[in-house]
Every structure is written in C-alpha cells, then in structure tokens.
Amino acid sequence: MLFQQIINGLTVGGVYALIALGYTMVYGILELINFAHGEIYMLGAYLGIILFGFFTSVGLTSHSLALSFALTIALSVLFCSAYGFTVERIAYKPLRNAPRLSPLISAIGVSIFLQNYVMLTQGATDKVFPDLLGSAGFDLLGARITYLQVLIIGVSFLLMLALHLYVTKTRMGKAMRAVAQDKVMASLVGINVDSVISVTFIIGSGLAAVAGIMVAMYYGLVNYFIGYIAGIKAFTAAVLGGIGSIPGAMFGGIFLGLIESLGASYISSEYKDAYAFAVLIVILLIRPAGIFGKSTEEKV
C-alpha cells in the first residue's frame, strides 16, 4: 500500500517537476511568474491527442505504432515550443521594462486566452487519449507498477538529467546562468539576452509538452482547464524547491507528487487539490526562499 502510493506519487511528481522546470527557468531569468505555462502543458496534451489521431487516420499508426508515437511527441514539442516563443514575443517582451505587475497581468491574460482558444476550437468536452500501453505492468513488493508509470518516471528523469547537463555544460547554458545573474552585465559581455530568453521559453515549453502528453496517457482524459490546476501545482513545486533553482524544481515536483499521493490515500482524497495550496502557503510563510533557494535582500 505504502509502496504503491510512493510509485504513484513519483509518477505524478515527475510530471510536476517537468512543468516546474519551465516556471523556475523563466523566473530565474525574468523574475516573472509565467502564468501561461500551465496552458502550454495543456496545449501539449491536446496536441498529443490531435496529432496521434491524425497519424492514425492517415494509417501510420497501424503501419508502425512506434514511429507514429515518436512523431506525435516530436511535433507536439515543436508546436509547444513555438507557442512558448510566440507568447513571450507578444505578451512579455514589450513589457520587459514595465512595473512588475504588468507582465504578471499580461500572463494571466495569456492564460485565459489560451484556455478559451482551446475550448472554442476543440470543444468543452473531455478528449480521450487512446490507450496504448493499457494497464500492462508487473508486481513489485506488493505494488502494481504499470509500464506506463515506468515510462513516465524514466522519461522525466532522463529529461531532467539532460536539462541539467545542458545548463551546466553547454555555451548556451552558461549564457542562461549569466543572464539569470545579471541581465545588464550579461549583455555587456556580448550575450544576446533576447535570444537567451527565447531559448529559455522554448526549452521550458518543450518540457511542458512532454509532460502534457504523458499526463494525457496516464489519465486518458484531457480538458481545456487542466492547465490551470497543473500550473499551480507545478508552480508550488518550483517554490517548494526554491524558485530559480533547477535542482530545486526537480526535488519540489517529486516531493509534491508524494505529498499528494500519500495525503490522498491516508488523509482525505476530497482535498487532494488543496494539499498543494496548503503546502505552498506554509512554505512561503516559513521559508519563502524555498528549500534550495538563496534568500536575497531587497535592493534599495
């Protein structure tokens, strides 16, 4: 029972962590809570369903399931990255020097817009993701682990590792860290701040797209408002770990997934969505900088 809940928690937590990375990277660089990030994740889930349905209808799926699935993921990531890039260009870039409230409100606007955009084009009813792996799995230590769960946990960890390597080892990663520390100084040493910000949005949105597809597979159902609640939870995860810190987001996501899964089975499942908020409020009260974050003094 306990082990089962831990596996379930890790599965959901991996997804939260992937979304949280997008929040934390954007916050690290722009100090902006990108409210629209949850909607990008929702777009990813929808694109997964739409594209997979398209490939099935042209007969690719019956020809080769693996190819069709891989193309679905690749194209969803591409589209979501394009959406993330576009959102940044339209809604945030003109506001880069505005008071801090402005981009936040603009982000809320993007979030409302994208939700209704999907609702109007795809309908308000639930969309079903085809059951690819079914409930096939194996038993371990008295818990039932499906292959899908293994896939989700595996992919999440691989992507997190890849991101970590990207940020610490590559030239672009170095530029990102530099911009996060000080935008003006970074531009003085020849870093193109605009393109670094664009890359950040593209990577974060791509990760969210993968998370969206995996959740669509896991729960089988997708709706146009899943982005809001997942976004809030992922944001909580990012704050939990210390916003701006990439390892923090990974840790926070998994931790939150575990809390939710254990809380739902041992305390009350009705308040499942409230745990994230309660954890968020408690963390912000006790340690606003998060577990891995550094507290910064206000500049006068």
């Binding site: 959406y83 506001l95 603009s106 809320i108 999907v118 809030i232 704050v239 908020f277 606003p288 006068v300």
Partner: protein, 367 residues
C-alpha cells in the same frame, strides 16, 4: 513582408487546432490587421496619438469639479428613475452591475491603492455570501441582523489573509492569495455537513423592512443602489484621508513610505480588511438576490474578472473602476450571441491593455 511572416506564423500555430481551412482564414485576417496596423502606425494614427489624448482630456474635465457635480446629480436622478421604466431583465443586469461595482471598489482598495495584487478576492465574496446564507438558513436570522455579523466575519478573514501578506511581496503575494481563494472554494465544496457541498444553499430570504419584503427586483434595485452609493462615498472619502494617502505612498515606494513614518504593516492589514469588508457587502447582497449560493459562483475566474474590472477602468481610479465593472457586466449581456468569445476577448484585452495602456482606460499616468 513582416506582416506576411507574422500571419504565416500564427496560422501555422493555429493549424493543428482547427484544420487547414480555418488556418487559411486566420492567415488572411491577421495579414489584413497587421498590414493596416503598420500602415496606420507609419502615418501616426495609432491609438496612442489619436484616441488616448481624447480620453485623457475627458478625464481631466471630469476631475475638474463643477460640471461634475451637476452630472452626478443627473446621473443619480436617472439611476433612481430606472425601475419606473425598465423591465425586469434590465433591472436584473443593473443589480448585478451594482454588486460588481462594490466588489471592484473593494478590490481597487487592495490592488489600486495599496498596490498589493490579490488573486483570491472571490474568497471574501464567498465568505460574505455564505455567512449570510448560513446565518439565514441555519439560524433564521434576517438580512439586517446578519449583515453586521457577515461583515465582521469577512473583515476578520481579510485580516487573517493579510498576515501572510505582510511577509511577502509582489508575485508571491499574488500566489498566496490565489491559494487562499482556492482553499476557501474547496472547503465550501467539500464540507458537506456544513455548507451542503456542491449543491449549495437555497431558499435564502431576501431582506425585509417592517414586514415588507424587498425581494422584488424593483425594490431590491434600490437596496443595491443605496449600497453602491454608500460604498462609492466611503471609498472616495477614505482615499482622500490619511489612510488613503498612506496607501498610495506605500504603493509608490514601500521603503520610502516606511522611512517617513508610515507603518507599512498596519496599512497593509487595513487595506486587506477594508477591501474584504466591501466584498462582504457584495457577497451578502448577492446571496440575498439570488436566494441561492453555491461554490461555482466563486471560482478563480471570478477573481480574475474582478481584477479585470479594476485594471480595465484604471488601477486606483474610482470612476474608472466603476466604468470597468459596468462594461464587463453589461457588455457580455448586450452581446449575447458572441458570449462564448467573451473570455477570449478578455484575455486578449488584458494583454493589449498592459502593452498599450497599462494605467487602464480611465487611469491617470503615474507621476
């Protein structure tokens, strides 16, 4: 060239969601909009140059005194006369407008005056509505006896939420208020034995005066009107008082304000509690009008809608906020056919507003 690129890009993004035909249409529409926009911009006929100065002039005129008081009297007479010629539908919308005006005025105190972003304002509205509903249905108290209790409860809840607010700034505060709003809604939704869960509470009594029920739309209209006028006067007076000036100072520069002796902690508490008080008034009015409350009326979207009213009209501007509330309640009613596009337009409107006129339609430029 650039406009073709933009149109192509947006059409490409749109493609998977509605198919090639719609994407082609979007391409054409965006192309027309973007190219005409660039054309107008080149000739200097954008909103910034042409329309905004006129609004500013209108605003300056409305602030300049005498003509206003005459206009105010006229408006008041008109508002009093409304029930004598308007139908039930108009009255219904008017009452709703009134309730939202009170909410927007309350939220404006927190966001516009004190500069603290609150994304969970619907929580106070919910607390006000549920307090009256529960006092009335469970204890059998009338509207006027419950009202003070109601307002006390919402004001205290404002204080309670303000405690975390004292430690947080900017966007963190926004998130905590959002979390607070969601928790309140989840509690109302799940605490079946007390709040009757998602089914809500029905058969709430309308207010009575000397045994006469004020439940009819025409009579209830006057109750709402009185509350709106009261809130308008009180908020306006408080804005000009020492407290209001302290809020504005705090909004403009927190450190500067505290260094001239403004007790930041206390004034943040006051702003939250004062805002929550008005949400309580609106909540009780709402419960008594609908005679029914359920958690569905107090979602995050509701909080966002209130925020939109404040931002649309102009953060901190009382007249602007009232205008914002009326526009956002009445406009969707007037445009019934395009109701489904209302939220889409609202989202886009928020973005455009932040880019082109961050101070709101009626807000003055920050000095």
């Amino acid at each position: 060239m650039r406009s073709i690129l933009v149109a192509f890009w947006l059409a490409f993004l749109f493609l998977p969601f509605k198919g090639p035909k719609a994407a082609l249409m979007l391409f054409a529409v965006v192309l027309i909009i973007v190219s005409s926009w660039t054309y107008l911009k080149r000739r200097g006929r954008t909103l910034r140059e042409k329309v905004f100065p006129r609004i500013n002039a209108l605003r300056a005129m409305s602030l300049s005194g005498k003509r206003l008081s005459l206009a105010q009297c006229g408006l008041l007479l008109f508002l009093i006369a409304v029930p004598f010629f308007a139908g039930d539908y108009v009255l219904d919308v008017a009452i709703l407008c009134g309730i939202y005006i009170i909410l927007a005025l309350g939220l404006n105190v927190v966001v516009g005056f004190a500069g603290l972003l609150n994304l969970g304002f619907a929580a106070f509205y919910a607390i006000g509505a549920y307090s009256y509903a529960l006092l009335n249905v469970r204890l059998g108290l009338g509207f006027w006896e419950s009202l003070p209790v109601c307002l006390l409860i919402t004001t205290i809840s404002g204080f309670v939420l303000a405690v975390p607010a004292l430690r947080l700034r900017g966007d963190y505060l926004a998130i905590v208020t959002l979390g607070f709003g969601e928790i309140i809604r989840l509690v109302l939704n799940n605490w079946d034995s007390f709040t009757n869960g998602p089914n809500g509470i029905s058969e709430i009594a309308p207010p009575r005066v000397y045994g006469l029920s004020l439940g009819g739309l025409d009579k209830y209209y006057f109750v709402t009107l009185a509350a709106v006028i009261l809130s308008y006067i009180v908020v306006k007076r408080v804005r000009l008082s020492k407290m209001g000036r302290a809020w504005i100072a705090m909004r403009e520069d927190e450190i500067g304000a505290s260094s001239v002796g403004i007790n930041i902690t206390m004034y943040k508490l006051y702003s939250f509690a004062f805002g929550a008080f008005w949400a309580g008034v609106a909540g009780a009015l709402f419960a008594a009008k609908m005679r029914f409350v359920s958690p569905d009326s107090f979602t995050f979207m509701e909080s966002v809608l209130m925020l939109c009213m404040v931002i649309l009209g102009g953060l901190g501007s009382i007249a602007g906020v009232i205008l914002g509330a009326v526009v956002l309640v009445a406009l969707p009613e007037a445009l019934r056919e395009v109701q489904s596009y209302r939220m889409l337009a609202l989202g886009a409107g928020l973005i455009l507003m932040m880019i082109f006129r961050p101070q709101g339609l009626f807000g003055g430029a920050r000095k």
